[in-house]
Symmetry: D2
Subunit: 353 residues, 4 copies
């Protein structure tokens, strides 16, 4: 039951890093939505590796095939299946690793859970799985964007360097998706310096959703912030999520942190657009802590399947900083959570014939 | 679908702050577990208000009645329903508030979602709902504690003062559940100073789970960290969650952040006990950012149901700092997530007759 | 996960036959529905035992207490919890039975599943659990009846005697809920004759739903007929379900069985109001095969917990024919299935703000 | 949410009759199961059209491609995706039908639900969707068959002719899967006679499962019989399900219908292997009423999209009797229900490490 997501909108992904294909099934979208293959592809390209020295050199066209649920450019109401073939898997990079647990990876815990040895490329635990999420997110956008809802993300910290301003426009042009034009270069140099030493760096990704109406999300366990936080923590490498003022709120007084209102609306947005688990109509604002890529080529101590201590140096094609890849995935997860919340709210508000 | 939680273990809570009762249904526990009413009550007492100047003066005995699913002190395998009657609701405190949206509360968003005016005590959005979660958590403990799994929580920051050491033993005796004996007094004074001015303060709660075996949690969307983060964000007032090194990981190199192993196991625990969404056998470690209580008696600007600007001063009995109440609830949610993960893992590993 | 039902509307029941109480939680109904306690009670009274020689003599007032989710006669949108206290449990009737498996009952299979000995009154497997379903069904009716949807049931066969006409009006006045005024007396005599010999008889219950619009239900696994059939088979004693022409369709030609249309609509209703799993706007029509009550006082061979052969004669207060009790429960389940389908369809069709 | 099935084992199908492909995702199977592609293909071949005059002439090789979740012939524990390309779709047969609702089909109700015109081949409502279920069923068998559980089905009635004996062995060799060697010829002639007149006939399919242990299935809503009945009613054309003595039980006395026991076990199996919704260890026995194929070439009255009366004669390649195709699908659904029940029971019974 690990790969199914959502309540009204059911999203199921499949595929291993070095298997024949990845894909996703999205069930529950209304009929009649415009599904534009090029729009899906554009999202895939934003997540795609191979673009710069900042990301993995694995070359994947990530061409999406629509297998079902769409006819003549419109959704039919039936499940939409999207398929992405794996083309550039290089399992030989992993041949030496089949017996050892890579530090910071899921090799050890998958072995404990399933009793299977480390799979090439991490198998199901690979970041490659997120390609399927981005494809699904593009379908969720087909529901939400016509309602005026827009998604943004950028890298607001890398290796300790923190952005002082947010420029989404600029971030699209930066290989790290850096938010701050004045610090983008310093961030890039931090990443390259680590890369040269066979190391990697962590960072912080900001996500923003504009235009979501008030009233979405459910009380108690299915709060909108709970759903979003769960969705973002499901992205490999995310170790922290804060919404609105987040950890800063912990140091504040109530009189500083409450968002007061007047007849024109809210006077601030410390809540990050969510009150009591339900959207307030303000922008949704969050930050995700992303750990440094665990695949590094520096020597590390680890264990093998038989329990013996071993030294490992990981070769292969790895992102020295995960942030520019996490951003598009985080947007996709936000789109899936909001599309689900939208459909659930329709169930409560709607009239049926 | 907002109040149902879990996959194999289904937990459903009900009840409004000023309604006749609160309660919870827990479905999916195995038969034969020892269910000790006193053990449930002890957990309830840890969360219960009325203990000190640090928490609300609302007096509730929070006596739990077991309505079903238990016979002769043992679970039957059928759903266990637990009931807590509301005794000390003082709706008159809220009479003046029925027309205005309290800043930082769910009044506005519930009105947008359901079209209902602010309910006395916040209705379903009240922190009182968490009494039901704590009762459910006590049932989850009945499954987990005999396996050697133990839960801890404490307050590690209040209003900017941060604990420098963690002493769970001490925290049990402190009205704020402060972690650090040397700073507990300063923290308490911070809270009382705010309270005297009709204000409130935020803080940070740490949660730790010891003894959970490796292999629990599911890949992709149902990762253990995703489930825990979602569960903790479902607690009112939580604005941030970090697991393991959390936001600090964002400033580190891979070579610093990876947990290396040798033949005796892990050499560090930056991951917080979870790798690839699956427990590693190490302690689960997390911190929750808790916002300052939104109910303050200082004058605030807000709106009423008709959209007019209004000034509000909130009377009533409120916690000046939520942290000591969040801790036991956060433990309960962790217990529910782990019990669910335990049963799901049994489904994969087990032999059936 | 055994006691949770529905997708958008989550219904959870709890309670054992001889425990303190039964109850149900209904989560997902919109806010603002009129919830009339008397209307709920009227449904409870239709199912209630103690009415005539045709049904069990167990006396239960079945007074429903609303614990949450309703304020000033209207739903709040939060979970509605309904409680029914058990008053007339006579466990001593069952004292001798704690060691033996009653034939035709769940004692043996529950022992195999849970390892628990036979519980007084059947424990969770008692027909008494259906009181909670009827209460929940009354809430579903609060959504559906204002839309013009109405529910009917009657007994169309008993011990081989088959009704030749259907008179719902008459059936309300008949202790067996017999459909055919001309045969009601013969049916009643059949039941009493069996009862005098310590035996019981089976029968067939018809259920009809009028006024449901076209378009409800989902393709593939959540077809409306699949949901209804599953819901009806979940009622103890039901061994068969047919919809529309049912088993008669198996003997027909396509040209006889298809429902043709003209510009005014359908020319027949062999489908029973469902095509491809989706409601057609015609009446939903179904029949349920109900086995004879397994509790009989004639001597039967069985086993005890230790595996030894034993003879058993079941005393206590039992319905000699289950049909008049199954009817109201079958209506309640139909109401729950349709309310769920209604909300799911609103999610697809609705506009959100 | 229409195409997702199961609790612990999540099964999601996708694909339209004339789209590029059909497929299924199965999530939740344990790691280490032997997954034999040839075994899957054998099941596909049993359901496959094109074999005889009794079934549709549409030629589909139904070659299954395994896209994920399997490595070196063993399950990995991750979701298994299976793909079947559509090769022989002849949409031109349906060109004239795009404006009219075929009687007995889902065209009208899909139009009411989704607002889409009739799709070629019935789109998602096509019997072709069941290919994906059979593929999924083969995976469920990989879990169950090593435990000694075996599945059988045969045609026990066609157009009013009822089998007097059950010979599964023989049924494998008969084009109608007829159960009774003495009546197979008469049944076949009945079908061919209907076919010559452009008509079709209904029938009854029996399903049997041997070797399932006692204790599977859940009380109340997720009873094993409820799950099976729902699963079978989800197969297009099924209008009735009876388990054990089924509708015959309605005419019996309790003393005739109860299955008594002695120290060696049950003395009869009127219950069909299920008591109180839980398997008893006896064979599971059920019969499914299958309506005559709605696609007939005889002239019928219907409506078009604009509401006008129209006459229709359906050309194309259709099964004159659905029974031999329903059998393998019904077995597959039983396998999926039992695999889910098996995993749920392991969750309750199992020890975790």
């Amino acid at each position: 039951m690990s790969s199914v997501f959502g309540k009204q909108l059911k999203v199921s992904t499949f595929g291993e890093s070095h298997g024949p294909a990845l894909g996703v099934l999205v069930d529950g979208l209304p009929a009649g939505l415009l599904i534009d293959q090029k729009r899906i592809q554009r999202e895939m390209d934003r997540r795609r590796p191979g673009g710069s020295a900042m990301v993995s050199a694995r070359k994947e066209a990530d061409q999406v095939e629509i297998l079902s649920g769409v006819s003549q450019g419109k959704s039919l109401g039936s499940p939409i299946a999207l398929l992405v073939r794996n083309k550039n898997a290089r399992s030989k990079d992993y041949r030496d690793l089949a017996e050892v647990f890579r530090p910071g990876h899921a090799d050890f815990t998958y072995f404990q859970k399933y009793g299977i040895p480390p799979q090439p490329g991490g198998g199901r635990a690979s970041g490659r799985e997120t390609a399927a999420r981005v494809a699904a997110g593009a379908l969720a956008r087909a529901l939400l964007e016509p309602m005026g809802i827009a998604f943004f993300s950028c890298t607001v910290a890398v290796g300790g360097i923190k952005a002082r301003k947010i420029d989404y426009e600029f971030s699209h042009t930066d290989p790290l998706h850096a938010a701050d034009p004045d610090l983008a270069r310093a961030m890039g140099e931090k990443v390259l310096a680590a890369r040269e030493k066979g190391d990697s760096v962590g960072g912080v990704v900001q996500v923003e959703v504009r235009g979501a109406p008030a009233g979405w999300g459910d009380p108690v366990f299915d709060k909108l912030d709970a759903a979003l936080a769960g969705a973002w923590f499901s992205i490999g490498g995310v170790k922290g999520v804060e919404i609105g003022s987040g950890f800063e709120a912990a140091a504040r007084l109530g009189s500083e942190n409450n968002d007061q209102m007047d007849e024109n609306g809210f006077l601030s947005n410390h809540a990050g657009g969510i009150l009591g688990g339900i959207s307030s109509g303000q922008s949704l604002l969050a930050r995700l802590a992303v750990k440094p890529t665990p695949s590094i080529s520096r020597p590390q101590s680890t264990r093998d399947l038989s329990g013996r201590q071993r030294e490992i140096e990981i070769k292969g094609r790895h992102d020295p900083c995960l942030c520019p890849r996490v951003g598009p995935v985080a947007e996709a997860m936000a789109a899936l959570v909001l599309a689900d919340a939208c459909l659930c709210q329709r169930a409560l508000q709607g009239e049926s014939r």
